[in-house]
């Protein structure tokens, strides 16, 4: 690759060794394309994986499921109703010492229990496993790089 660039450079500027300074030819860091992504952008990518955990998203729906911070998980669903009006719902799950608090619009909140609790925990585990492997390329158990 370097030879090819050198030849291309010679074609452009001539065979002048004094002006040929290879360090100026910086190769793009193709092996780390997401290195510059912010945490917010990474969460967005995580969310795309999170949305696939619960089976196919119905046609016309847009779903997001992601971990916002240490104690907060978000479920967002958006769809068009039969009148063609855009609808959306956001559910926030907060990890507290007392349990998992489910917070919905309209000041509705409750600690989830039973099967819902188990399902939520299972979802977070699947999220972690998939995101670790597919996005960060890390072994979920050891944290070691997979590449």
């Amino acid at each position: 690759m370097a030879d090819l660039l050198k030849k291309a450079f010679e074609l452009l500027v001539g065979d002048d060794n004094t002006s040929l300074t290879m360090p100026a030819l910086k190769l793009p860091k193709k092996t780390r394309p997401l290195r510059k992504l912010s945490q917010r952008e990474l969460i967005q990518l995580e969310s795309e994986i999170g949305a696939t955990l619960f089976g196919p998203v119905p046609k016309g729906h847009h779903r997001q499921f992601f971990n916002l911070d240490r104690t907060t998980w978000i479920w967002y669903e958006e769809w068009i109703d039969h009148l063609g009006k855009k609808k959306s719902t956001t559910t926030r799950y907060e990890i507290h010492d007392q349990g998992i608090l489910k917070v919905q619009e309209g000041a509705r909140y409750n600690f989830i229990e039973g099967q819902e609790f188990d399902n939520f925990v299972m979802s977070t585990r699947m999220y972690y496993e998939k995101v670790a492997r597919e996005l960060y390329k890390r072994d979920p158990q050891t944290g070691q790089s997979l590449v």
């Binding site: 190769l27 860091k29 193709k30 092996t31 780390r32 394309p33 997401l34 290195r35 992504l37 945490q39 990474l42 969460i43 990518l45 995580e46 795309e48 994986i49 971990n67 911070d69 240490r70 104690t71 990890i95 010492d97 349990g99 998992i100 609790f117 925990v121 977070t124 585990r125 972690y128 995101v131 670790a132 597919e134 996005l135 960060y136 390329k137 890390r138 979920p140 050891t142 944290g143 070691q144 790089s145 590449v147």
Partner: protein
Amino acid sequence: MSPNSSTAQSTFNIPGLQTGSSIEQNDFDAKFRQIIQDDEQLQTLRQGYNEAPSAAIISDDQKQQDLEHLTNMAAQSADQSFASIVGGDPLLRQLDNENPPVAGSFTAQSENNLTSKEVRAQQIEMLNAVLNMTDRLSLFRTEHDVVNPV
């Protein structure tokens, strides 16, 4: 060669190689180990909880219920004595039928309490596991080193 170049990246996981990247990796490893140790501590706690003799996990509430049980037992015995004295009043027998023996109700209640304690312990364990995962996610985000875009 810049530490962030592709070559440095390829040596990212060689133990003991003190390049800029491997220092980052060592730092990452240390943090991740700490999180895993927390997880191991959780497992140890869980094991300890499961192996603990039941007497060791009786709470103050349970002790209070035990005390109430003893008190009620005495009252029940007194009622039975009274019934025998008055010749087995039907009303008292009816009351007896509607209210199962205190010892029996105590056993059922105790089992329920034990079950709810186990469920609660299990929930706490799962909550800690979720927090542990989000700690790891946070570390991944901080140290993210994605090779292929999604």
